[in-house]
Amino acid sequence: MPSVKMPRKSTDTDMTPFVDVAFLILSFFMLATKFKPPEPVEITTPNSVSTKLLPENDAILVILDSTGKAYFSMLTEKEPGLKYNVIKNMNDTRQLGLTEAEMKNFTRTPMVGVSFGGLKQLLSLAPEDQGKKKWPGIPIQDSANNELYYWIRDAVQAFAGKKINYLIKGDNAAKFPQFKEVLNAFKRNDIYKFQLVTAIEDAPAGTELYAERQKQMQAGKK
């Protein structure tokens, strides 16, 4: 009786489905990734239970780093012209002696961390190189010479008529007096509503807010 011959199976496995999945995941991540804009300073924001999302446009952002240095930034992705107006106005009123190219450069500058005197130095660098250097921060300590106030004032003027969000992004380790000076700079511009940038955290179980959120969720289901 002839023995039954088992067909010899190839040891090669077909990798095609595997590769398919791999590239599917790859394309997902490529599309889902949103690169963070380059930030010259590393900020670890505190957590809060707030669930409001961060607005990405039409906002004035003041960054306070761990050593208490303040940086000013405008989120105007849709209209870079606004930033140009701000720097043009600033150059004219303060005789900063900026060239046209430097003012154009400002529209791509992620954030300003220098006093008015140091602006020329900052803007003479390409935006990509600005992050590599350490900047002294905008002078805020002295309330008589709070330059942040002028930045905010000019930015508000440039935004004229739009609804602006005032964002403050502080580092965990930043001290309160600097934060207060930042608030003062806003307050002097008659701005009293701020949004503090935080990371999301769940409401602790058993508290008032937790109960309220549970109620909202149940109401939503019904």
């Binding site: 595997f18 309160f176 807010l209």
Partner: protein
């Protein structure tokens, strides 16, 4: 799979001098491609920021020197929280006594209980008055909405407090549903008490006594 036929095939015999072209496999080695694919996946996984930052609203009052424009708080419903050095928290109810006997050290873990306790006390002692009608109207006639109207938390960060402490305590207000709170500068005599406490006690002092009335 699409493939290019490279094999000449040996259907027709060639002369003895003609070398037979080697039959190349149509299978492409996929390993480098897969390697690269996974390298990119890892790269994108690490660079992706999935957690979107949120924002927390903060409303500050306008600075005013005029007495009539300033908000008044009832002493019975006031609780003052002072943020000190190294995450220390202190609190007192009503006004600070001259001998600072109602000045109590606490911590971020324990302050929530104190806030809830004080809020309950204020709500229990509440008597409806004229001001309540406005609040009821605002909340669609909810009679309970007026209960904690006298409860005011005053937050006073010292110069040693960090931004994180400030945000944490504001968060605590949101967590406990405290609707009336204010961030105010420290008085010099309060600062003195804080400093003497910090000089003598370890900074993370546990809450000891019940709040003095």
């Amino acid at each position: 799979m699409a493939s290019i036929d490279t094999g000449g095939g040996d259907s027709h015999k060639k002369g003895p001098g003609v070398k037979k072209a080697k039959k190349l496999s149509t299978r492409v080695d996929m390993t480098p491609m897969v390697d690269l694919g996974f390298l990119l996946i890892t790269f994108f996984i690490f660079t992706t920021t999935m957690s979107t930052p949120s924002t927390m609203d903060l409303f500050m009052p306008k600075d005013t020197d005029k007495d009539e424009e300033q908000n008044k708080a009832k002493e019975s419903g006031a609780m003052t929280i002072i943020l000190g050095k190294d995450n220390a928290v202190y609190y007192y109810m009503g006004q600070l006594l001259p001998d600072a006997s109602n000045f109590t050290p606490s911590s971020f873990g324990k302050i929530r209980e104190e806030i809830i306790k004080k809020r309950k006390e204020v709500m229990a002692a509440h008597v409806h008055d004229e001001g309540c009608k406005k609040i009821w109207e605002k909340n669609g006639g909810d009679q309970k909405s007026c209960l904690d109207k006298d409860f005011v938390v005053v937050i006073k960060p010292t110069p040693d407090a960090t931004y994180k402490n400030t945000v944490d305590i504001l968060d605590e207000m949101a967590i406990n549903g405290v609707k009336r709170f204010a961030m105010v500068d420290l008085f010099p005599d309060e600062l003195k008490v804080v400093q003497t406490t910090e000089g003598t006690l370890p900074s993370a002092a546990p809450a000891t006594a019940a709040p003095a009335k």
